[in-house]
Amino acid sequence: MRRTLDISELKPIVESLLFVSDVPLRSERICDALEVERPLVMQALGELVGEYRDAHRGFVLEEVAEGYQFRTRPEYADWVLRLTKARPVRFSQAALEALAIIAYRQPVTRAEIDYLRGVDSGGVVKTLLERHLIRILGKKDVPGKPMIYGTTREFLEFFGLRDLASLPTLKEFSELAPGELAAGEAALAEAGAEIDDGTPD
């Protein structure tokens, strides 16, 4: 039997494991690797999260996809982009709507997504599958055996969510939301301008 590590010894060890992991590291895997009891690992993780949050560092330790991962602070995004020259993924409104429906209502079929959006969502569902944000969970046991969809671990990683329960609360509407009027009006003004010089005769 190995001598048990105390928290001050354990913390830098856990930190080093997090450093080398290329995916969010689950606490269970840390426990298994180090043969340390879970409460102690959780304490080490908790303290590390707090320390990185309070320190003025370029990155923090975040809880994502049921694991822990070092991630840069959002305020430095522009600087990081200068280095990576990556083109961030941009979602169309259609893709976001479909993704929201799948995230909140999973398991869900294409037909349900189409009905809720009022338009065909075949294209966006395919795109979301290819981007690994959603996956086919199986087939629904109804006539036609339609595929049912759900979100992936990559979805949680992408949006920095700990788990599905930490999705923003779905707001129930009993009235129309007034907030978007401004955006709609802006679109209208823009449209007016475009149609003015766009229409023939």
Binding site: D22, V23, Q69, F70, R71, T72, R73, P74, A77, T84, A86, P88, F91, A94, L96, E97, L99, A100, I101, A103, Y104, Y115, L116, R117, G118, V119, D120, L129, E130, H132, R135, I136, T152, E154, E157, F158, F159, G160, L161, P168, L170, K171, F173, S174, E175, L176, A177, P178, E180, L181, G184, E185, A187, L188, E190, A191, G192, E194, I195, T199
Partner: protein, 255 residues
């Protein structure tokens, strides 16, 4: 009254209706159907005028609106007490609009979350297959991942030669046997190892079928480290009895 609307801004008929209701400050529980239908149809007209393809969904909604309108025009039944229970013809539309608004709002929330590689960044490792093999729990490969892996390979595979005198056609059973031989005394086989160095499309397709057959015959299990990591073939634990079954084209039905 003009209906200058930037059409691309609308995700669909529900989105357009929501916009019209807001713009006219209508009460969603008491939508003046005649008015909204008129405006909606005027916009469809404008779309056609601009030679935009009006998607079928927009036309379907137009029909729905007209249907609701006609139902509202029907005289209320004499037998009012009994008929009172009948639902307002607009009710389902209202439910759909509110439901749609809910997910539109949720979509906005997703957009505002910090996105990986847009607002936040994590370390990325160029994962060499071997280093990858060391790590992690294996999980079963789904059909979608398998198809994707083959699709990626097909894209690299050269188009078949136009001028070719003689082709050596690989058969699925040959591939099955070849894979089994490769796997023979190995513990596992990387997906890429079952192909020649530069497989042509025919080889990729035949290998795909062979792989599916092997999984179906429970001779091979497909596993991958992490989701969408590289795929590994493992001999199934079933033992050798299954391997004894003769594998030929006729049994497989590829002839």
């Amino acid at each position: 009254m003009g209906f200058d609307i930037h059409l691309e801004n609308f995700e669909g008929p529900l989105d357009l209706l929501l916009h019209l209701i807001r713009k006219n400050e209508m009460d969603i529980y008491d939508i003046p159907i005649a008015e909204i239908t008129a405006q909606y149809l005027a916009i469809l007209d404008a779309m056609q005028h601009l030679n935009l393809d009006v998607a079928g969904e927009f036309l379907l909604m137009a029909a729905t609106l007209l249907h609701i309108k006609s139902r509202l025009l029907l005289p209320v039944s004499e037998d009012e007490v009994v008929e009172e229970e009948e639902e307002d013809p607009r009710a389902e539309l209202v439910r759909r609009l509110l439901e749609y608004q809910k997910y539109k709002d949720a979509a906005g929330n997703l957009e505002h979350l910090p996105h990986l590689e847009r607002e936040v960044f994590a370390r990325k490792f160029p994962a060499p297959e071997l280093a990858e093999a060391e790590t992690g729990e294996l999980e079963a490969v789904g059909l979608f991942e398998l198809v994707e892996a083959f699709k990626a390979l097909l894209q690299q595979a050269p188009e078949p030669y136009v001028h070719q005198v003689e082709t050596e056609r690989l058969s699925v059973s040959d591939r099955i046997n070849a894979i089994l031989t490769l796997l023979g005394d190995r513990e596992s086989l990387a997906f890429m190892e079952i192909f020649s160095v530069r497989p042509d499309r025919h080889e990729v397709v035949v290998s795909f079928l062979a792989t599916l057959e092997l999984v179906k015959m429970r001779l091979v299990r497909l596993l991958q480290n992490a989701r969408f990591g590289s795929i590994w073939l493992y001999p199934a634990v079933a033992g050798d009895d299954a391997a004894a079954t003769a594998v030929d084209e006729e049994n497989l039905g590829y002839l």
